[in-house]
């Protein structure tokens, strides 16, 4: 065997560094998978409304439970992130936004914007929806 200390090593293992653009790409995939689960919840909700009062109330109270609320907040954030970052990727496909500075800025925007948007959504729901 050659001397491992001096033998050249494939560079990707050494130059690897965490970047916001990389994180955004990974999260596009993760939130896509999360939305698969979300689609199941949306379908159950719609079907329960179509089925009966009892089915609908059961699903609604599950969603309103502490665990249900955590899942719904996560789902809504997934939608927001996947949508904002999806638009970002569509701009890339059209040939815009590739400059490293722009790509980094829009990457941060996808994370920050989706968190702010999720907070706004739930603030409105808590203020207006709760008493309904």
């Amino acid at each position: 065997m050659a001397n491992h200390a001096t033998a050249p090593v494939s560079p990707h293992l050494q130059i690897w560094r965490w970047t916001v653009t990389m994180a955004a790409s990974i999260f596009q995939r993760a939130t896509g998978v999360a939305q698969y689960a979300g689609a199941i919840l949306l379908t159950i909700w719609l079907a329960s409304a179509a089925m009966s009062e009892q089915a609908f109330n059961t699903v609604q109270s599950l969603f309103a439970s502490p665990l249900g609320m955590i899942v719904l907040v996560g789902y809504s954030w997934s939608i927001c992130f996947h949508l904002i970052n999806g638009v970002r990727f569509l701009f890339w496909d059209a040939g815009y936004g590739f400059k490293i500075k722009t790509a980094n800025l829009t990457g941060w925007l996808a994370f920050g914007g989706s968190i702010v948007l999720t907070a706004i959504i739930w603030a409105i729901v808590l203020v207006t929806g709760g008493g309904n």
Partner: protein, 112 residues
């Protein structure tokens, strides 16, 4: 999915484009309808100007979802048999879920 790359790519993006305005509309509407009773919700969905765009959103969404998961399966699963089986299950599952969701919208429209 050898040889199917281009239509796959296009459909993934066309469905994404269709969903952008519809998702914003649907999420905004859900916020406005938070706390609705079942009757109120059903009356809202039963309007043609809600049931139709909602059905389009659901159809585009399940199509996009199936295509997206297909790419992920191709990236991580390299054994042909396992990959084929997962593709089949993904298609089957998306079809069943999509059918139930769209059927629910139609049923609500008919019940109200």
């Amino acid at each position: 999915m050898a040889g199917k790359g281009t239509p796959h790519f296009i459909f993934q993006r066309v469905t994404a484009l269709v969903m952008i305005p519809l998702t914003i509309w649907f999420v905004a509407s859900l916020i406005a309808h938070a706390g609705d009773s079942r009757t109120e919700l059903m009356e809202w969905i039963a309007h043609w100007h809600v049931a139709v765009p909602l059905s389009i959103l659901l159809l585009a969404g399940f199509f996009h979802m199936r295509l997206g998961i297909e790419v992920i399966i191709d990236d991580y699963i390299h054994k042909p048999d396992t990959r084929g089986m997962l593709h089949f299950l993904n298609t089957l599952f998306s079809l069943i879920l999509g059918a139930i969701a769209v059927w629910s919208v139609v049923a609500i429209t008919l019940i109200v």
